[in-house]
């Protein structure tokens, strides 16, 4: 199969301006061969989903450190569903996700992968490659069965 480059949008929802982590992860994904767009600061959930759709990305990664990960993710998921892209775009959340309960809650809400502080680059890269591969195979199988 011809491997199309994985495309990722890294975004910071909300007003927090600490984006060292977002940039570091963006650079690590680039080094892993992915195409990465970083939106910059102060993005509303609407802007992030719109950019993800317009850029036709495989993955939308949210970086949150300010404690609003649940609320911000919820807004993003609601908008993705409204736009009908929740199943097309893989949603990841990284940053300060303080407790196991929060991780579980994010996943039950529909976040595909959660990467708290100290997660390794390899874990994030492997996870993305794996889910994108499975998603693409599934899409291919579906298009063949049509």
């Amino acid at each position: 199969m011809d491997e199309k480059k994985i495309k990722v949008l890294v975004g910071k929802p909300g007003l927090d301006g600490h984006d060292r982590g977002a940039k570091v992860v963006a650079m690590a994904l680039k080094d892993a061969g992915m195409e990465v767009i970083y939106t910059g600061l102060h993005q509303s959930p609407e802007q992030l989903v719109r950019a993800a759709i317009d850029e036709d990305v495989d993955v939308l990664g949210l970086s949150v450190l300010s404690g609003i990960h649940i609320g911000a993710s919820k807004r993003v998921i609601d908008i993705m569903k409204k736009e009908g892209v929740k199943d097309d775009i893989i949603l990841l959340v990284g940053g300060t996700i303080p407790t196991k309960e929060d991780v579980d809650k994010l996943k039950s809400m529909g976040v595909d992968g959660v990467f708290p502080t100290d997660s390794s680059f390899e874990d994030i890269v492997d996870f993305i490659k794996d889910v994108v591969k499975r998603k693409r195979e599934k899409t291919l199988a579906e298009s063949r069965s049509l």
Binding site: D19, V24, A72, K100, P116, D118
Partner: protein, 564 residues
């Protein structure tokens, strides 16, 4: 034997010692945190070019290498000031009283992000959880009055971490003081008000750099003339360091910013000695103890030299750099969080051995959330133990004269000067911000450092060395340590919005409209100082969102380069 002959002898003896002793068991290279090579041994010969009177001097005298006051901590302990604030004004007021009762000597106000971006709590663009989350929510003068209820503003000093909407916060504090019967001439405290570093790191900018710089200058000018005991700006190296700069870049960018501000204020017709004594600074203290001490000393000396030689200041107070320093948050880990108490102790020590006037120690749980009462107390106690048990306060600048520390002090000054030259070559700080040049550099460095941590080349105990088996893994499973974390109050948003709505109903709305109209007219002029207009507006209970909204209309907003 002359001094020169003696130094020659010392140098020759080091060559002998290297051959006879050191090389019997060779060691690998070592580097400071910023990447400067470190020798195994330093001797008086490494300080051959240093002149005690010219380069080091006694504390309280030019070039202030050893400290800005003659007796330093023997005279007065540094100001122990823990950054705090959350939820609503009433909640934060309670936390402040708790900290003051526990021996804290000044307050340091943390605002929530909507406030820092000049938005009202009910602004439709914000995510509700932002309200009161990372600091206290503040919409109108009423919140400021409640924040300091029963705290006499003529007897405490207050530091405000506020940048883009500084004009509004200062105006509210002045108005709150008046209501307590304290005239602005008696208010003491510090405003962050350093907008240029917000574009490089931290990110709470609203307007483009040039009008932002105008607002910063308005505050400095207004305070110089009317609020003489306030430090109208705290020029920061801290945040750019957190974003990835190294120790000497931290110095270079902060001092390049400082020069930009000084240049702007001079254009308002003030003499340098009329405002420079009240400029203050913020730096970070990282884990490389000696490089950090050297950095603080070098920075003080470099600023003194710049103020005397480049700006012709005559008042020694304009040349002495007073600074606050906090711990380097990026050195703290989420894994084994109690280890952070030891890290912050070392960083606090670097701050104090570096001669700071004020210090903040981070709480060990800050990789997870804002501090609990317990973790905030441990952080406060860390400072108090260093201050009252360790004996480091007894003699001024105890590391002065250490061959290694003096050598590093010279090196940091030299490297910082080079980096400042690079900023100048690229058109100065504003141009560097607009072009994203520094963003680019520091983001790359942050990534390289992270790769070194991930590969184990840079040791972080408990994270990549001596890793405990029982520590939960990091494969996205969530670590959830057994610790009490600060729990955000889910009702903050509704309480704050309710109060905001009530203020808007009960104030004189025609007066609000009039004062905002006057502000807009003033903002459209190039040089009119906006402070008096903002004071009128806050006294009419115009909200921070309304006031900033007028300025957004006039100045526009800004999309900052990301650097990657």
């Amino acid at each position: 034997m002359t001094l020169e002959e003696w130094l020659d002898k010392v140098e020759k003896d080091k060559v002998r010692w290297t051959g006879e002793c050191l090389n019997k068991k060779p060691v690998g290279p070592a580097f400071t945190e910023s990447g400067m090579p470190v020798e195994v041994l330093y001797t008086p010969a490494d300080l051959k070019t240093s002149n005690y009177f010219k380069d080091i001097g006694n504390p309280g005298e030019y070039p202030f290498t050893r400290g800005v006051y003659p007796s330093m901590y023997r005279g007065n302990i540094w100001s122990i000031r823990q950054y705090a604030g959350y939820s609503t004004a009433e909640e934060s007021n309670r936390r402040y009283k708790f900290l003051l009762e526990n021996g804290q000597t000044g307050l340091s106000v943390a605002f929530d992000l909507p406030t820092q971006l000049g938005l009202d709590s009910d602004d439709p663009s914000i995510i509700e959880e932002e309200v009161g989350r990372v600091g206290v929510a503040l919409d109108s003068l009423q919140d400021m009055e409640m924040l300091f209820e029963d705290i006499p503003l003529d007897r405490i000093t207050t530091s405000f971490t506020i940048n883009a909407p500084t004009v509004v916060i200062l105006a509210m504090y002045i108005a709150a003081g008046e209501k307590q019967g304290v005239p602005m001439q008696k208010l003491k405290g510090t405003l962050q008000n350093d907008i240029l570093k917000e574009y490089l790191a931290r990110g709470t900018y609203i307007f483009p750099p040039r009008p932002s710089l105008k607002l910063t200058t308005d505050v400095i000018e207004f305070c110089s003339r009317n609020v003489p005991k306030f430090n109208p700006i705290s020029i920061s190296g801290y945040h750019v360091r957190e974003a990835g700069a190294n120790a000497y870049q931290e110095v270079a960018y902060a001092l390049s910013e400082a020069k930009t501000y000084v240049d702007e204020v001079l254009k308002r017709g003030l003499h340098v000695d009329e405002f420079a004594p009240r400029l203050s600074f913020i730096f970070s203290s990282g884990m490389d103890l000696f490089e950090e001490v050297a950095k603080h000393r070098a920075c003080r000396r470099l600023w003194a030299r710049i103020m005397r030689d480049e700006y012709n200041s005559r008042d020694p107070q304009s040349q002495r750099m007073r600074f606050f320093a906090g711990c380097n948050g990026t050195t703290l880990t989420a894994k084994e969080p109690l280890n952070n108490i030891i890290r912050t102790t070392i960083e606090c020590l670097a701050t104090i051995l570096g001669g700071a006037q004020s210090c903040h120690v981070m709480s060990f749980d800050e990789a997870y959330a804002i501090p609990t009462e317990e973790s905030a107390r441990v952080a406060l106690r860390t400072q108090q133990i260093i201050a009252f048990e360790s004996g480091v306060t007894n003699s001024v600048d105890p590391l002065g004269g250490s061959y290694y520390v003096e050598f590093l002090t010279n090196k940091v000054e030299e490297k910082a000067r080079e980096e400042m030259g690079w900023v100048e070559e690229n058109g100065g700080m504003v141009a560097c911000v607009e072009k994203g040049l520094i963003h680019n550099k520091i983001a790359r460095q942050a990534y390289e450092k992270e790769k070194k941590i991930r590969s184990g080349e840079k040791v972080v105990v408990g994270l990549n060395k001596f890793v405990a088996d029982d520590c939960c893994d990091t494969k996205g499973a969530g670590k959830g340590p057994e610790m009490n974390l600060h729990k955000a109050d889910p009702e903050v948003y509704s309480r704050q919005v309710k109060r905001l709505k009530s203020i808007k109903r009960n104030r004189d709305n025609s007066l609000v409209k009039e004062t905002l109209g006057n502000l807009e007219k003033a903002a459209r002029k190039d040089i009119e100082n906006l402070m008096p207009y903002v004071i009128d507006a806050v006294k009419a209970y115009a909200t921070i969102g309304e006031i900033t909204g007028v300025l957004r209309e006039v100045y526009g907003t800004f999309k900052c380069p990301t650097g990657i």
